[in-house]
Each structure stands twice: as C-alpha cells, then as structure tokens.
Homo-oligomer: 328 residues x 2
C-alpha cells in the first residue's frame, strides 16, 4: 500500500508516518485483510530537521497545492492520503488569501489528483472543531450546525463539503475528522490561535516562560498527540460503509479548563513551574478561541470505535515527559 | 446607485431588473434614505430575446466567472450586486466540473471583484433549499444543519460560507438567501431538477403536454416569481445590522404537494387540463428532489420582514395567467 501524507514533515505528519511504519500494515478496503505499508510519500514545504530514515519513506518537498508536485508524489498507484497540510487559524485570519489558497485550493487540487487516479483512494481530511461557531448549544453533538466565524473554520468546512461530494460521486473514499486542539505539541509555538494550549505546559516543563493569552476559566476540547495519531489511523481504517453518507465527524476528546491544565502541570512538576506562565490576555486570540466549543457528545465517533484519551491531563503530561525525554 | 445583476438575462434577473426600474430607487445603506437606481448592468452568457430598453440598463454579455467581464461590468462604482447566475441542480449533478467552475469559482471571482472595489458593496447571493439534505427534521428551522447531498447544494453552501466570511472581513455586505423552488416560471423547462414544478402547470395551461417525474404525494417548498423578486429586493434593502453575523437565511415560502398543485390547476382551468400531465417517474430527478425539505419555520426571515405568498396556488396560477397574458 502506498500512502501520501501532506504536511508530512510536520509534527503530526511525522508521528502518523512513524506509527504507520511501526505497525507495518493497515486494514484493507472496507476493513478487509491488512495490507503492508510499502511506500510513504511525505509532502511538505521543507524537509524536517529529523527526517525519517526508512527505505519505505520518500519526501516530496514543495507547495502541497502545486499540481505538479502532487502528480509527482501520487504517481498512479497511491492507495490513500492523509491531508494534514494547512494554514492554521491565526495565520488564516491574518492572511485571508493565503488561507483560501492553501486550505481551499490546495485541498481541491489534492481531491482532483485522487479523482484522476481512477482507483477511489482513501482520503483522511483533518478538519477542526473550528468549524463550529457561536451560537452553540451547551454540548455540541453530531447534529449541531457548523457555523464557523473565522476564516480557518470556514475553509475547513468547505474542505469537508468537498470531501463529502467527491466521496458521493465515487471519485474517492473520504473521511473528514474534526480534530480537537492537540496538546501537548512538542517543539515551538505556531500560528494557531490554540498554540498556547501546548505552550503553557511545554515551556514551563522545559524551564522557559510562556504567555497565556486567555483567562484561566477558558475551557478547551483537547486530544493528546498519541490519541490524535491513533484517531487519524482509525479514520483511515474504519470501513467506508460503516461511516455512511455523511463523511464528517467530530473526534473524541477531553474537556479541560486552562486552570485544570495548569493544576495538572503543578501536580507533575511542582507549583513553582506554573509561575513561569505569564497571564497576558490577547483580544485577537480570545476572539477566535472563544467561538470554539469545549464540550462534545461524539456518539457517532464512539460507535465507530474511535479511541479517547483516558487518564486526563496528568496522563497527557506524563506521556509528554516520557516521549520527549524531559526530566523535571 | 449602480447595481450589477448576474444571470441578468434570465427569467428572475430580468424581473428583478424590471422591478428595480419600476421602483426607481432602493433603500440606502442600513435602511437610510432611498437612492435612485441610476445604472443596471445585466451580466449574462447571452443577450435575452426581449432585452430591456431603458437608458439605465446596460448588458454585459459573456461568462460571469470571467474576471475581465466582471471588471468591465463593475467599473469602480458598483454599489450592489444580485448574484443569480448558476449552473442549476440537475446540470451541476451531470457536469461536476462545470458546477464547481460556475457555482464556486464564479462566485469567488465576483466576491473578489467586490472586495477590490474597496467600498463594501451590498451582495445578494441566491442560495437554495438544496443546501439541506437527509436526515431532516419534520420542519426545517433556522437552526437546522445544512447537509447537502447533491453537488448543487454543496456548491451553494460553499457560496454561502464565502459570502459570510467576506462580509465578516468587511470586504462587502453580503446577504445569502435560500430561495424556495420558484413556480410558475414562464418559458421553457430548464436543467433544474425542480423544473417540473413549473412545467406541470405551465405546459397544460398553454395546451401542451407535460411530464411529472415525481409522485403526486411529493411535497415542495415553493415561491411565486412575484414574491421571489420582492424577497430578493427586500434582501438587498434590509439593514445590514439587523441581519447580524449569520448572513444566510431561508426565505418564506408555501408548502404544497404535487397533488395540491394539480388540484389548483383543475380549479383554474378545468379537469381536462390536468389530463395533459403524463406521470412518468424519473429516478434521477426523484433522488435529488426527495432530499429537499418541504416544510420550514422561517422565523428569522419573518422577523426581518421578508414577505410570503398569500392565497396559495390558486393565486399563483391567477398571477401567472394575468402576467403572461394566457387565456384559458
């Protein structure tokens, strides 16, 4: 099986690739006999610093919305795609045209490339809780109307609609999954409005000061990196027929307030660690984050067997320390 | 005031233009003092057979998704746009690429042209009940999730999302209104799956045979041409602030089954007229029409003063006979 990962040089893309390589196989079409992972093509704007050294891995470096790069990456034998490349929330808000170009036109270019293969490849599209906006019910369900109020959410929802229609037309086998905010991301802050959700834990754990741009009462809908990867792979493997005609769904996550996250940080690393957080509200970030829902009933994903983080933020922090080799 | 109408040579476009000329003025920004209609630019693929002869009217003939034609039509002084041009439902289903090009790329080209004006023009986008799909509640409300299951509905919903975001960014002042099926359209059948909703009345009234591709129990959500035009003009005039952040809404209509429509036809023109309908189910058309809702609660539109057909289908048939000069 040949699988293409856009954003394959990024944090999630690298972890999805590693997990595919570790497992060595993925379920066949409609849950049939697992097939070996023979080739992974990782498409990204730049080679990552610690490129995966595995004979099954090839990097395709360039703009993921460039049809020539896509054609070269796909060849004529691609069986599946993880589309992770995106201009994230604050960046899409700051540069409207860039967001449209990458998040809408780039997704369309990929869908067209899949269609041209003529073999109905599987296509996992990473959408986001940002497709939801005010007004929202207390708990977002599978029936809640996505009514995004920021460019990123709108562009992701357009992607979902296209994935649904390309699937309905039989051009590909799409699955659009709405990722909760991933925390704790290792590495550096990025241009996502939710970047602080990792930074306020990661930076203090690494002995560095962090800025928290929202109030401590702010609640978030979160998923750990490990579960994000497990969910993306499950999205790829779940039989198409089980998903049914509606190809978008919200993934399971956990609800935590910033205060609860900081309390877990103190339990793991002591009260002094949390004093490295500087509380400095940022109206622009608050305006985006406040429109996102924090409480979900993910009945559809649960019924389809998507896994959920167990053990709350204490477990997530412990995982981060172990995986990143950080000692307190 | 200078107003551009795409699809301006079509049935609705011509009627919107005529009504604007008849009134001679439209409400200013945010419901302020009415302004005279100085110039109407009607953009369409071909000159209509009975072009409007009025010194205020100019035709711009060509592809409404061609940026050069749009730039020429807009100039630098356009105050408002009615975007009616579209590839309709069955046509968008039959030619996926054409639908995307006209309904998505064409709408985007217009939104970009509005943005470049730098004067925040008003933009009325004609969306459709086709944005809704199964599963649906008994009655569609303003809170119902649009979940389109045909390419036309998906492309219209993408248009709505873009209109919403361009409005939120302050690039223009958009209003996306979901038109019920318009009946009775004069003229010839078109490639809309709903074309029969006019044809089964119009053709028999004109002494011609018509085909009904759906069962007589099929219910539709309908609006007369006169009310469609009144609603589009109201959408243009309603103060922006009253609409609020959500720029899409469903317009008021009436619910009627095909059986009820045919009964009204018999009351108006005698039982013999209805024998000109040939009942010949078409699975393709049924598959599209059956996903559309027929019962709505349009509380938001009602509160914003959008008018509704009074007098049911008897009135609509009487209007058609008078307006088209048909004698039984």
């Amino acid at each position: 099986m040949k699988i293409v990962i856009t954003g394959g040089g990024g944090f999630l893309g690298q972890r999805v690739a590693k997990e595919l390589l570790r497992r060595g196989q993925v379920a066949g079409v409609n849950g049939s006999t697992p097939q070996p992972v023979n080739e992974l093509v990782l498409v990204d704007i730049a080679q990552p610093p610690h490129a995966l050294a595995d004979p099954r891995v090839r990097y395709a470096i360039g703009d993921a919305s460039d049809p020539r790069l896509i054609a070269e990456a796909f060849g004529d034998d691609t069986d599946g795609v993880f589309h992770l490349a995106a201009v994230v929330s604050s960046a899409a808000e700051a540069d409207f045209d860039l967001g449209l170009r990458v998040n809408v036109d780039g997704t369309r270019a990929l869908l067209e490339a899949c269609r041209r293969l003529g073999r109905r490849p599987r296509f996992v599209f990473t959408s986001s809780v940002a497709v939801f906006g005010q007004p929202l019910p207390e708990i977002v369900t599978d029936a809640t109307t996505p009514q995004p109020q920021n460019s990123y959410g709108i562009q992701k929802l357009i992607g979902e609609l296209l994935v649904g229609d390309y699937t309905r037309k039989g051009f590909l086998d799409g699955r659009a999954v709405r990722l909760p905010t991933v925390s704790i991301r290792p590495g550096k802050p990025n241009a996502a409005a939710s970047s602080f959700a990792s930074g306020i834990l990661r930076e203090p754990l690494n002995g560095v000061e962090a800025v928290c741009p929202v109030e401590s009462e702010t609640e978030l809908w979160l998923i750990s990196p490990r579960l994000a990867v497990e969910n993306l792979l499950h999205a790829f493997e779940v039989p198409s027929e089980k998903i049914g005609p509606v190809r978008s769904l919200s993934l399971p996550g956990i609800t935590a307030s910033v205060r609860e996250m900081v309390a877990a940080l103190e339990r793991a690393a002591g009260a002094k660690t949390a004093t490295r957080i500087r509380w400095q509200p940022d109206p622009k970030i608050k305006a985006i984050v406040q429109t996102w829902p924090a409480r979900f009933d993910t009945a559809r994903a649960d019924a389809l067997g998507f896994p959920r983080d167990e053990g709350g933020f204490d477990r997530i922090i412990a995982d981060y320390l172990r995986e990143e080799g950080v000692t307190i």
